[in-house]
């Protein structure tokens, strides 16, 4: 979950260092590396989102400004009909500014499970704070070693008892340099329900980042949501004042 939030809302400043060969990272470190990738001081990102469903295809351009992971503001730039729509995320809450009626609406609890902007990402996906390691028992099922052909970490996560998690199992894969590759979500019957993919790793001021993030729901054939970064700016400062309901209207 954190991956999505991170992908959408912030880009990592930390240079991901390759793991020294002599010290194998812990599961936590691998998972945190993926999280931390997007958990940064501040960032301004422009991206394109494509949503393909059996009924419609949507192409949007948006600008996301983030301060840490707690505060994010996404402004729709295109299409024209929706331009000016703003989503503000502060902690676990989401507000939408709707320019046509000049109104700010807090997304109510009952709609948090609903789709964000018609995509395969839910409002919940945007705010969920649960770190994998807190709700899940995680174990390595694959570790890159010298003799190993596949240079990846593969981590299996099974929800702990009494945690309110919809998934039965999650399998996350990261490259040897701990950049995320993909995450597979299984339901309680062990059926693959969704795949999140991280692709097109590019360099931004010495920071390596996957610039394309896709959600592929496995129960809806041919449907997907893809977000692609078109620019990443870690240098322009971001003020905390931006993330207020008053500021939303501007």
């Amino acid at each position: 979950m954190k991956y999505i939030q991170g992908t959408l809302f912030a880009c990592g400043l930390v240079v991901v260092t390759t793991t020294p060969a002599f010290a194998e990272p812990t599961i936590e470190e691998v998972l945190m590396a993926a999280d931390d990738l997007f958990r940064k001081e501040h960032s301004i990102v422009t991206m394109e989102m494509t949503v393909k469903t059996s009924r419609y295809e949507r192409n949007m351009k948006m600008k996301a400004v983030a301060l840490g992971t707690e505060k994010t503001m996404i402004t729709i730039l295109e299409p024209a009909k929706e331009a000016g729509t703003v989503t503000l995320k502060v902690d676990n809450n989401i507000w939408n500014y709707l320019p046509k009626v000049d109104r700010v609406m807090k997304v109510p609890a009952g709609m948090m499970g609903g789709s964000w902007m018609g995509s395969h990402v839910s409002n919940d996906d945007l705010v969920r704070e649960n770190r994998f390691s807190e709700d899940f028992d995680a174990k390595f099922i694959h570790i890159p070693t010298d003799g190993n052909a596949e240079k990846i970490y593969e981590i299996e996560m099974v929800p702990k008892e009494n945690t309110a998690v919809v998934w039965g199992k999650i399998v996350a894969r990261s490259r040897a340099d701990m950049l995320p590759l993909d995450v597979k979500y299984y339901d309680e019957d062990g059926t693959l329900k969704r795949i999140d993919k991280f692709e097109d790793i590019k360099d931004f001021d010495g920071v390596s980042l996957p610039t394309k993030f896709s959600v592929l729901p496995q129960d809806k054939e041919g449907e997907y949501t893809t977000m692609t970064y078109t620019s990443v700016d870690f240098t322009t400062p971001v003020s905390a004042d931006m993330f207020s309901l008053q500021a939303l209207r501007k």
Binding site: R55, Y56, T85, L98, K100, V101, M105, S115, G118
Partner: protein, 410 residues
């Protein structure tokens, strides 16, 4: 024959008091049956009118996937053209069309999830007098003006006020955010829980919001003649070109309603059966007494050479005369009751004067029963069958008397 008839008639008159008591009891049975019959007929006719004619429509046209999916995008395409063609069909007496959606509704104070229905205001008015359900403010006008009416439950829950702007938010069919402001012009109370928790807009306004131009989830057609629904269904099926759209009769859409209507007939027969069963014993008793009293007389007639079959005929004719007498009185009583109910009506509200709300339907507090002379003949027929049936045993007994023993009896 006329000779047997006159014997029978004389016997009927012989014990006038007993005849009158039996005839009155049977007449009351007839009157009760007439009352039950006209009451249940009227009740179910009202029920049919409220539920089927007004709400379900005789024929429902939907996207074939919609019944199961209830999905926003499973609509009837090019609905406006279809509606026009439906209106010009011969058998059609009314066409209404609806579009449904689930939205978030916000007033000044609070917000809630609600069902929104896009309606054709004048069609709803014609079909079910929708404006009479407005308890505050006004009904929707026929030109789309971004007006909304709210169900009374939602209105109270959200503490809405007439004239305020309702903010409506949802996801449109193309995946985009859909939202707009609608001026709340009225509040309706339908009695149906779901409806009273929702809002209604002019269907064009809702089509604009959901980006479903000229699309509907449901087109409801009412037939001029309830008996011709299947023929109209065939006409409509020919008219609808798209395979994705189907026309179903009300009983195909709601078999349980059909069953309920059939249950009415069964229960009516059941009650008539009970009443006539009791009335039958009265006749049986009367005729047995009559035979028992006249044992000597019957013996004499037999001794004089009257055939046994004629004895049977006399008793049966006697019964029939009794039934005829009872019918005349019963029909008069039943007719008076029916007339009274057609003028005064029956209070269904239990004295409160509030509409009776049952299964989301609003019955008028007073139900006026139509004069249903056509439903009188069933109780009368029943009476004759029972009276003559229950006279067979006494008749058989009489015909089997030994004339010699019979003459000697007291």
């Amino acid at each position: 024959m006329s000779f047997l008839f006159s014997i029978a008639w004389r016997n009927v008159l012989r014990n006038g008091k007993r005849t009158l008591i039996t005839a009155t009891a049977m007449a009351v049975s007839v009157a009760i049956c007439i009352f039950l019959s006209v009451f249940t007929n009227q009740f179910y006719a009202t029920f049919f009118d409220l539920l089927v004619t007004q709400q379900m429509g005789h024929i429902q046209i939907q996207n074939v996937d919609y019944a199961k999916s209830k999905a926003l995008h499973d609509t009837i395409q090019e609905g406006d053209a279809l509606i026009e063609r439906l209106q010009s069909l011969d058998g059609t007496s009314g066409v209404s069309a609806k579009l449904y959606g689930n939205v978030l509704v916000s007033g000044a104070e609070d917000s809630a999830g609600a069902q929104v229905i896009g309606i054709l205001p004048s069609a709803e008015e014609t079909a079910r007098g929708a404006s009479s359900q407005i308890i505050e403010g006004t009904y929707l006008s026929d030109t789309p003006a971004k007006h909304a009416i709210a169900g009374v439950t939602l209105y109270e829950d959200l503490e809405l006020k007439i004239g305020e702007e309702l903010f409506v938010y949802t996801q449109a069919a193309d995946g985009s955010m859909a939202y707009d402001l609608y001026n709340l012009v009225g509040v309706y109370k339908s009695g149906a829980t779901m409806l009273d928790r929702g809002i209604q807009l002019h269907v064009s306004d809702l089509q604009d919001l959901l980006i479903l131009p000229s699309q509907y989830h449901e087109i409801l057609v009412t037939d001029k003649e309830v008996a011709h629904i299947e023929a109209l269904q065939a006409d409509i099926t020919n008219l609808v070109s798209a395979d994705s759209v189907g026309a179903k009769t009300w009983w195909e859409t709601s078999p349980q309603t059909k069953e309920m209507m059939a249950f009415q007939e069964v229960s009516e027969v059941f009650f008539l059966g009970i009443i006539f069963f009791i009335a039958g014993f009265g006749v049986l008793n009367t005729m047995l007494m009559a035979v028992f009293e006249r044992t000597r007389e019957i013996g004499v007639m037999m001794a004089l050479g009257l055939q046994r079959i004629k004895i049977v005929q006399v008793i049966v004719i006697e019964s029939a005369l009794l039934a005829a007498l009872s019918s005349v009185i019963g029909l008069a009583m039943g007719g008076i009751i029916n007339y009274y109910l057609s003028v005064q009506g029956i209070d269904l509200s239990g004295g409160t004067g509030e509409p009776l709300q049952m299964m989301g339907l609003n019955f008028d507090p007073t139900m006026y029963v139509a004069m249903q002379v056509e439903s009188y003949w069933v109780p009368v027929m029943g009476l004759f069958v029972i009276a003559m049936g229950s006279s067979l045993w006494p008749a058989y007994r009489a015909s089997n008397l030994n004339p010699v023993d019979a003459i000697r009896s007291e």
